[in-house]
Each structure stands twice: as C-alpha cells, then as structure tokens.
Amino acid sequence: MASGSSVGVGVLFENAEVTTSGRPVLRRNEVECFLLSSVDFDSEDDPPRFTALKSGNLILTTHRLIWIPSQSNGAVPSLIPLAAVTHIFSHKKSIKSMFHSPRIRFQADPGSIVVTIVFRGKGDFDGFLTKFWECWRGRAWEEEEKTESETSLSGSGTVAQGLYGNDGTVRMVGLAGILRKEQEQWESTDKSLQDAFQDLNALMSKAKEMVSLAEKMRQKLLSAPSSQNGLTDDEEMGSKEEMQQWMLSVGIISPVTKESAGALYHQELSRQLADFVRIPLEQAGGMISLTDMYYHFNRARGTELISPDDLWQACTLWEKFDVPVMLRKFDSGVMVIQNKSHSDEEVMSRIRMLVTKTETLRAGVTASDAALTLKIAPAMAKEHLLTAETKGLLCRDMSPDGLRFYFNLFPEIDPTNLHIVKDFGTYGVWVKATSMLSV
C-alpha cells in the first residue's frame, strides 16, 4: 500500500520516531513490554476509516502501541498512544477464530475508531493481550503529566500559605500533615513496586532477545580465530577474553547449552577456578575440601557468587583441560581438590615419618594430632589416615579415649613364633620404646 497513514486519519496514528537501526525512540520512563512480528492494523469498517498498516513489528510499551514496518514498503512507523484508547473489546474464542489469525479489537480517539490488530505471525498472543490490558490500565502517561505539570509550576517565589505550597504540592503541617505524609509514602512505595514489576516484565520479554544475542556472541567467540581483518592475534584474543569476562560477569547463561558439557560458562569458570585454586591449595598443604574451596572462591568473587553445583561442574571439567589440579572423591564421599603432583606417596611418607617417631610409636596419633603436625585440616587429616590404614601402613586402636592410629606392626610379627622379635624392623623399635615404660 502506498503511504497514507496521514490521509484522512487526523491524529489516530502519529508518526513514530525511530533510530537509524529501526528501533523506536522511547520517552523518559517509557518501558517496552511486548514485541510481536507480522502484525497488521486493519479497519474492519466499510468503508475503512483508515489505511491499513500491513506486516510490521508491533511494540507495546507502557505508553504507546508502536508499529514499525518490517519491509521498506513505503509505510511509515506509526503509533497510537495508549491514552487515546477508549475501550478494548474482550476476545471471544470461537470456532471461527480457531481458523483465523488471532485478532484484537479496540477503540481509540479521535472518533472512537475501531482498530483491529491482526497477528499473522507466531507469538504469545494471549500474553500480549494481558500486557495490553495491564499497560492500558497502568496509565503510566498520567504520572508523567503530573510530574511535568509540577516541575513547570516550581520557582514562582511566593510564600506558601495554607495546606498547599506554591508548587502545587501539599505542605506537611500538623497532624493532617503527618497522616498525609504517611499516605503519600505508602502510595509512592506502591507505585515504585508497580514500576519495578513493569520493569521486570519488560526485562523478561527482553530476555529472549538477550539469549539470542548471547548465542550469537558465543558462536562468534567459539569460532576459530582469524586475523583477516587486520586485528593482530593478541588484540583479537584480548577482545575475545574481554567479551568472555563481560559475559561471565553479567551472568549471561544460555539456558539451552548450560546442560550440555563444555558450555562456555562452565569452561570459563573451570579455567578461572584452576588459576584461583593454586594459592588456597598451597596454604592448605596440597589438598582442600570442595566445601572449603566453595567458601574461598565465592568470598573472592564478592558478588556474582557461583552455586555449589557450578563449582562441582567446573571441577569435573578439569579432566578435559591440561590443568595441574584435580577433583578427587574419597570412599567416604568427601570430595577434595588436590594438586596432581601431590601424590598419595608424598602424604604417606609424611605420615610414616610421623608415626615412626618414638612418641607416636608408643601412643599413636589421632586425626587432630596429624592435622597439627602435617598442617592440614582435621577432616583432611582423617581421610589421609584412613587411606594409610587401607594401604596397610597404619592400623587402628579404638577405645573410650577415641580413635587412634598406630604404625602397623602386624606384618612384622611371626605367627609361628610369637615371642620372636627381629633385630631389624620397626617392631623391635617399638618393643624397646614400650619396654622403657613397663614396670
């Protein structure tokens, strides 16, 4: 159709201001609430009261209905202020409506013209209708008018008299003033809550856009680096890293890919974690429980905390990369992070040195003793002692005093000759050490 929204229509459709990339220019406080494509504005009257607008994007905001043509067919971006809407017809679903594109009818001034919106594309039609009602009832434009009129009146300089100040606001005096103040506070809280929810709704509808944006970014970042456009590798890596950092900090997670292994978020987190883990790990003596690491990592991050599940996922990804740390699960179910170089042998030899000292030969060690000597957390110490027991280096002594571990002498004792004590071996040392005590 040729341009003609101005023909015979008066001010039903105003021209909508758009940016160079086709996005509507929003007024202050105006928030987008819904976006649908393939929408027509029709007049079902005969003869039509206005020229139909065909095939455009419909943007519902808190203040207006904005229609932007999707093809450059000469049509002009147009809008109807919600303030001009006088009535929204209820939408009855009938058998006939099942076969047609959904449509909404409303009346708008001037002239109470009936406008039909036809939704030819896929979209959440019911959601739109709900939002339409909400925004229309929300009457966000009235708040603005009030603010505008208030600011235009300020600065007249006369002394305020009576209950009303010179700027049109109510003065807070006396009991009436206190009550009024409370009332206003309540109203403003209520309003800001409403606004907040409106913003939230707008954000939610933006979320879909954001997800597709994030997906595009992800694709771009994952694609093989090339320096065709003159960027050096460093620069490109730098900007890519920046992009990754930014995405991570904003917390953009592509919901589709988070489930699949190797999602960008977890990969990035995994590498970050491997770097971060180095120092706490050293301080903890080479092994740190997953819960302790959760505490350290989130404390360092400050905000944008990660969930325990994210942490665990990040750790499990380490086996895919070449990082010097690993996640390890003990039989008891305790999970720890340890240096790959930190082998069991190293800990075992430290424990062996500990339990073959004269004092510990005689009296054994508890988990807390070991923790102090080996300079590791008591829970870690216990795991190590249990592992040593399983390997046959230690054996246990359970008594009312608690659980203690001793160097395992059983292998050195000869069952065919119970009284023999070999000269070499720890058994002999133990006999000497204990005989010094016996009466």
């Binding site: 054994g364 046959g392 054996c395 246990r396 002594d397 059983f410 004792i413 069952p415 119970l418």
Partner: protein
Amino acid sequence: MQKLADFKLPPFFNYPPYFTLQPVRDTREKQIQLWKELILDYCKSQKIFLIGVEDDFPLFSNSAIDRSLSHEAREAFLSAIVGEGRAEWLDKGHRKCLILWHRIQDWADMILQFVRDNGLEDSVMTVEEIRTGTESHGTELQGIDRTILMRALKLLENKGKLALFKGTSADDEGVKFSV
C-alpha cells in the same frame, strides 16, 4: 615381659591395636592368626578347655594398656579357631567354646598310647579313672575335659578299639579296651 600366671605373654600383647578388631582385610587376617595362636598356646599351657565369650578370660583384656576385646572381636577370633577345627561352639548362641588345643584325633592317639604304656590292652576302666586316676598323673590326660574325653573315646569305639558301657550311676561310665 608380662606374665599371666606362669604363662609368658608375647610383646605384642601390649600393642593397643591388637585389641581392636581391624577393618582392613589383610591386617585383620594377620591379627586373627596371632590371636588364634595365642589362645591355643595359653589354653594348652593352662589346661583350659572351655572359654565363655562373656567370661573374664584373662587373655581378653590387658590392664597394663587399659584395653579389652569387644564382644564382636572375641566372637570373631574364637570363630576363626572353630573354623580351623581347633575349637567347637557348644551352643547356637556362640556363648561357650570348647577349645581343642589337641584335636580329638590327637587325644584319641594319646589314649591309645596311655593304654599301651600301662598295659591296659584288655582291661576295664571307668572314664573318670582315665581322667583322674593315678595312671594319668603327669600325663596330658590328667584333668582332661570330660566332654572331650568322651568324644575321643567314642571315636575309638567307632574304630573298634574299645567299648563304652554304662555303670550304675552317671559317674560310673566304663570302658573296655580291646586295643
């Protein structure tokens, strides 16, 4: 070295882990072996034929290191001896254990030797006399547990080496040798 009566205890009797049932398999197997040998040695030296699991059996605790075996441990060690055929549970509840520091077969052999040594090849004796009579003084048969003796005698009876017969009272069970 510690002693229980005149029995010399081995050094590891003062090793606290010895009194805790070890969870690790290899360690436990070694521990069981040591307890088996110790119990059998001790019972043989003290002529103990019966151990009650709940009893204050001297080996089960060591006051010097303030340790004693749990019920579970005691049962585990005694069961191991039973498993090897060197003991028998006298009840299903595993409360009383008959210690065979000589096997029944060994006892039977000793009885035969006893018969030959004393020229009793065709004689008659009461069971009680075998245990406590002058002939048995200084031999291993002296003070042998009645249950064990009867088992050994029955074993020999099955081999046709003797015949058991009841006397006028329960104490009067007798044996006719035909070695």
